[in-house]
């Protein structure tokens, strides 16, 4: 989705996110990562997966519609010349991984990307990534594209090289990021994970996004979204993400019914 937001497009840096709302009345605030921005055109590219009622409604927006958007939020990724950087993206996480890989490459790093998805048709951003990185290793759960493997397979192999990667950045489903952290931990490779937790304001007020990092409570919106993946309490983070699962399921089912009713009504 491309959104006209000139100020955000100008200010945003790799690693930052925005909060969007379908309307300013009863809609929910959804944190979404930024896949790309064009400061000259003043536009932002957001890539999201329709996982619940609110993202479904967002997906139904048409060109010219307005939405509420706040950003850019969170701290930008710390970009430096580390040497060899490995960027691991899973599913929709490949979208925000792209600007980070691009910035790391521009800073002089050798950049290897591991692109993971359930199946070939969910593999996104491949042309963009192939155009900028040194190597792109593709894996899918079902083997329909690249290797039939999990991202942790090639990640482990890269860590066994001598010398190992200087930095690993991982973006994707929490369970994937957790296992990336477990894969790199024995090798002592510094690993950053970008967290997408439940949040409301996204500006450091509600505290809903808090996570334990190294035993300390941190707020994803103002202290993150990137943290040392070896220090994040993944079990707690994942249980917090599931806080509203039962209600989300009900809303999602209701949303499908509403959409079905509307589209059928439209045809009649």
């Amino acid at each position: 989705m491309s959104i006209d937001a000139p100020l955000v497009a100008r200010e945003r840096k790799a690693g930052q996110f925005v909060i969007v709302q379908c309307d300013d009345d009863y809609a929910e605030r959804i944190p979404l990562t930024i896949a790309d921005a064009d400061p000259e055109k003043g536009s932002l590219t957001l890539i999201f997966q329709t996982v619940g009622a609110s993202t479904h409604k967002l997906a139904l927006k048409e060109p010219g519609d307005e939405i509420v958007l706040l950003g850019p939020l969170g701290n930008p990724t710390h970009i430096g010349n580390f040497g060899w950087a490995v960027c691991v993206g899973g599913g929709i996480g490949l979208a925000p991984l792209y600007p980070i890989a691009k910035a790391l490459k521009a800073a002089g790093n050798r950049v290897t990307v591991i692109s993971g998805a359930r199946t070939a048709e969910l593999l996104i951003m491949q042309d963009e990534l192939n155009a900028i990185v040194d190597k792109n290793i593709v894996v899918t759960d079902d083997g329909t594209a690249g290797l039939k493997a999990l991202v942790t397979g090639p990640l482990g192999e890269l860590c066994r090289e001598n010398p190992p990667p200087d930095i690993v950045v991982t973006l994707g489903p929490p369970i994937m990021m957790k296992f990336c952290a477990e894969t790199t931990r024995p090798f002592g490779v510094k690993t950053l994970a970008s967290l997408n937790t439940i949040m409301i304001d996204g500006t450091g007020m509600c505290g809903g996004c808090r996570v334990s990092v190294g035993g300390e409570t941190k707020f994803v919106c103002v202290d993150g979204p990137e943290f040392d993946a070896h220090l994040v309490d993944w079990t707690q983070m994942m249980s917090r993400l599931g806080a509203y699962k039962p209600r989300e399921k009900i809303d999602h089912d209701r949303c499908h019914l509403e959409i079905a009713a509307e589209t059928q009504g439209g045809r009649a």
Binding site: E28, L73, D201, G207, E248
Partner: protein, 490 residues
């Protein structure tokens, strides 16, 4: 309940009183008027406003209790120096719109202040009538009168906006549309400067829309008062986070603002620093209230923002925010709501009326009690709270008696939801992206007596300076900053 609950009764009494000029003794013989309220068992099941406000007769009767003291100790007790005897005198003369105009000379948000100010600690504390009758609860009910006048004006459809002065060509940025920012914006706009308010949320009002619940402060009322600013020509930039969308320094150096007021409000919520606080089901009061108020989660049929299903709720803290959270939890269907406070009722910082209302509604108070850890179930959700009993020792720096833990008094109670209402840290966004801005060790912006920060032409006020304070104190700071800004950029 006072005997003058019904307007008719108030009316007859008033006629009787008016038959002759009143002596001070006669004025003091009139009992303080209670405000009619929704019955506790009814209101705990709805979001409607708890207090229904005075009618004309009851307001006039209450106004007759004012002695019109020459030294007006009440004005000295008001952070924005409302001419209290002046507006009460207009009420006595049935000139309610005139009374509103007197208040609005110094306070543009009277319907809000009348509802949420801690009057018993401000204007009503030094009231001569209360002093003479031996109790602040017997003081002239200034807050209720203010509310009456403001509501009368709004309902009359003759809501007046202060006039903006002729254009000066100067422009001022106000960061945050809460009570400090709105007040500052009005006073700067009156001088004829252009004013833009930058607000991170999608609605104006700050804590008055995300924090204070509908049942205590109707949101339509906040919207109407924020709308008055628009009619004065104040511009709003919503969904704009200064510090991220645009830096503070860029507003001054590139966007041509002559001065900036920072009123960004409360920041990161404080927690108790006890084990288990990140379990699912532990909420900051900020989150709990924002979900229900600003995001309207109480309306489950319409709102997309979900609510956590709560049956047994513990609220930690003894301030207004704790009262709001507890009473909201009841309204959302919790079976039992307990407020845990480590001191006693006398030391509670909450507004007296809110504590009474909470008790009437069925909130249970566990005084001299503080939690030691939150216990979870196998799925990481809250299951119970371990608490410790306290006794009160000698007074501490705050003048309140220090709570002392009683060793070995640990007990465990089942809860599924914990709401932590023990205050806020400061929001780090602006200070982090503006290194020259000096802050104290808690991150609150340091200001001088004119609210000026360490940066020229940058002023600050409200919770970002004070820590967790009140709407009216924030307004007082916004007003002081506006005066300084008007002086500097004229």
């Amino acid at each position: 309940m006072s005997h003058a609950d019904s307007p008719e009764l108030a009316g007859t009494e008033l006629e009787k009183l008016r038959s002759a000029p009143l002596s001070n003794k006669a004025r003091m013989a009139i009992p303080a008027q209670d405000m009619p309220c929704q019955k506790p068992e009814v209101r705990r099941g709805n979001m409607g406003e708890v207090a229904e406000g005075y009618g004309k007769e009851q307001a006039t009767l209450e106004a007759e209790r004012c002695l019109q003291c020459r030294n007006a100790p009440c004005i000295a007790g008001c952070p924005v120096k409302v001419d209290i005897p002046g507006f009460i005198d207009r009420i006595k003369k049935n000139d309610f719109l005139g009374a509103a105009a007197v208040i609005k000379r110094t306070n543009l948000l009277p319907s809000i202040c009348g509802r949420v100010c801690p009057q018993e600690k401000q204007c009503q504390l030094p009231c001569t009538v209360g002093k003479a009758l031996g109790g602040v609860e017997k003081a002239v009910q200034i807050g209720r009168l203010e509310r009456f006048v403001a509501d009368y004006e709004r309902e009359s459809g003759q809501l007046s906006a202060p006039a903006a002065g002729s254009s000066t060509g100067r422009k001022v940025a106000v960061v945050g549309a809460g009570p400090a920012g709105l007040t500052c914006a009005v006073d700067v706009r009156r001088e004829g400067h252009r004013v833009t308010i930058f607000e991170a949320f999608h609605k104006a009002g700050g804590v008055m829309v995300y924090g204070i619940p509908e049942f205590r402060l109707p949101k339509a009322l906040v919207a109407s008062e924020a709308g008055v600013l628009e009619s004065m020509g104040v511009e709003y930039e919503m969904n704009f986070l200064v510090g991220r969308t645009r830096r503070l320094s860029s507003l001054l150096s590139e966007d041509g603002y002559d001065a900036v007021f920072v009123g960004t409000g409360a920041g990161l919520p404080k927690f108790m620093d006890i084990p288990g606080e990140n379990l699912v089901g532990v909420f900051s009061a900020n989150e709990y209230l924002t979900r229900t108020n600003l995001m309207k989660a109480y309306n489950a049929a319409k709102a997309a923002t979900p609510l956590y299903p709560s049956r047994r709720v513990a609220v930690l803290g003894g301030g207004n925010v704790a009262m709001d959270s507890a009473r909201m939890a009841l309204r959302l269907g919790a079976e039992e709501v307990r407020v845990l406070y480590r001191r006693t009722r006398d030391e509670m910082p909450a507004r007296a009326e809110e504590v009474v209302h909470a008790m009437e509604e069925g909130v249970i108070f566990d005084f001299l009690t503080s939690p030691t850890r939150v216990m979870g179930d196998d799925s990481g959700r809250v299951a119970a709270l371990e608490v410790l009993s306290y006794s009160l020792g000698e007074p501490d720096e705050s003048g309140r008696r220090r709570p002392i833990a009683i060793r070995g008094s640990e007990k465990v109670f089942p809860f599924d939801t914990i709401i932590v209402a023990v205050g806020n840290e400061s929001n780090p966004l602006i200070s982090k992206t503006t290194p020259e801005l000096k802050v104290d060790r808690w991150g609150h912006i340091l200001v001088d007596e004119k609210q000026k920060t360490s940066i020229e032409r940058v002023y600050a006020g409200g919770d970002i300076v004070l820590g967790a304070a009140t709407v009216i104190l924030a307004m007082g700071e916004g007003r002081r900053a506006a005066a300084a800004i008007n002086e500097v950029i004229q």
